[in-house]
Amino acid sequence: MLVSMKVEATDYGDRRVYSVGAFNRGVSSWLGRLPTVWVEGEVTELRRQARWASVFFTLKDPADGACLGVSMPRGQFDALRLELADGDRVHAYGRPELYEARGEFRLRALSLERFGLGDHLAALERLKQKLAAEGLFAPERKRALPLLPRRIGLVTGNDAAAKRDVLTSIQARFPPASVLVGETYVQGPRAAGAVIETMRALWSVPGVDVIVIARGGGSFEDLLPFSDERLVRTIAESPVPIVTAVGHEQDTPLCDLVADARASTPSLAARLVVPDLAELLQRLDRSRGGLERGARRALERERRRIDQTHERLGRAPRLLLERSRSRLEQTAGRLKALSPRATLDRGYAIVRADDRIVRAGDAVATGDLVDVELAKGGFGARIEETR
């Protein structure tokens, strides 16, 4: 128990000297005036023995690894029935204490609560709301992925599965792909920081046009680093598009919301970052075919037009001739209608004397010879009588 007490010192001239015990008591008494607070951390190195009055464990800060020794009265600890395991996150309520016999500083816990899934979820939800309010998840922030990245950055753990899945899928789809693999920690207290630094290292490499963050499935806690606020903000500020393939379909770590594209499996991530080479070549060849066809068609169209014009040109004189001929025939018809022959056909005859047409009776005299022309043939005649 901490009790405020007077600290004895011995004076050597003008030097005031404390014994170790007195010094520790002094510090302890000063610490005893500090308030009781809640401290959050992960439980490690839990030590409990039946003959000890207290249980001991270390609280570790998952963000930076800082440690704090904790002691707690064994009776109170046991009564909580927490059944803590290494790595469990707790909230400890207590005050700072100095273990005077050893000069060791620690937290004297009066109460302990497991910081459970529900609390994590609530904290995550608050962070999500905050980042959403800042517009970090807005669809208009999402960048288009390059069709043909010069180089693909891959952030992955050294666990074979996720890395192999991404690499084999990329290579199957697009054999000429270049991938720069940044292996790092994707689990545990420092995963978020490690992923952030690996991303930064990758995007500084020239030619890296897109980065994939791939991590296999895991427990909710395993994936927590991928909801880390710093990680989410780093993705948002990345100069190149980021594709996340973290966990399974049902998991939605916050990094998925801020990423430019999200894949539920490593092979789907590959589908997003590289084109299908065979498809691409087909499409290119189709385009080229269309190019040739199009140019040839334009050429043929022009040729046809020229040919038609030429043909019309050739037809023009014949047309003229025919028109003249028909006009001629019309004229001929009219001419024929006017000819005396038509009159002869109707039964008239032409009488000529000395090759002159006889139009009156007194133009001839009895005994003259005349020539009579009929529609068919004719005859000679002698005038018997004139009138």
Binding site: L180, Y185, S287
Partner: protein, 72 residues
Amino acid sequence: MSDTKPTFEEAQRELEEIVHRLESGEAPLDEALTLWQRGEELYRLCRERLDAAEGKIEELASRVETSRPEKP
């Protein structure tokens, strides 16, 4: 890669627009021939891009050592 050269995407998009224009049959002959030439050029460019890519998997040289946690 020079800045004046189009990216693969740009080249592919332009190529497909040219094909579309040619197939519409609206381009007069002069333009059609120019388009065709440009299209062939773009096609070559795209193929070169694909052929130039030599697939390779590399490890990031500078591992991020600082962030590795100490072994307990």
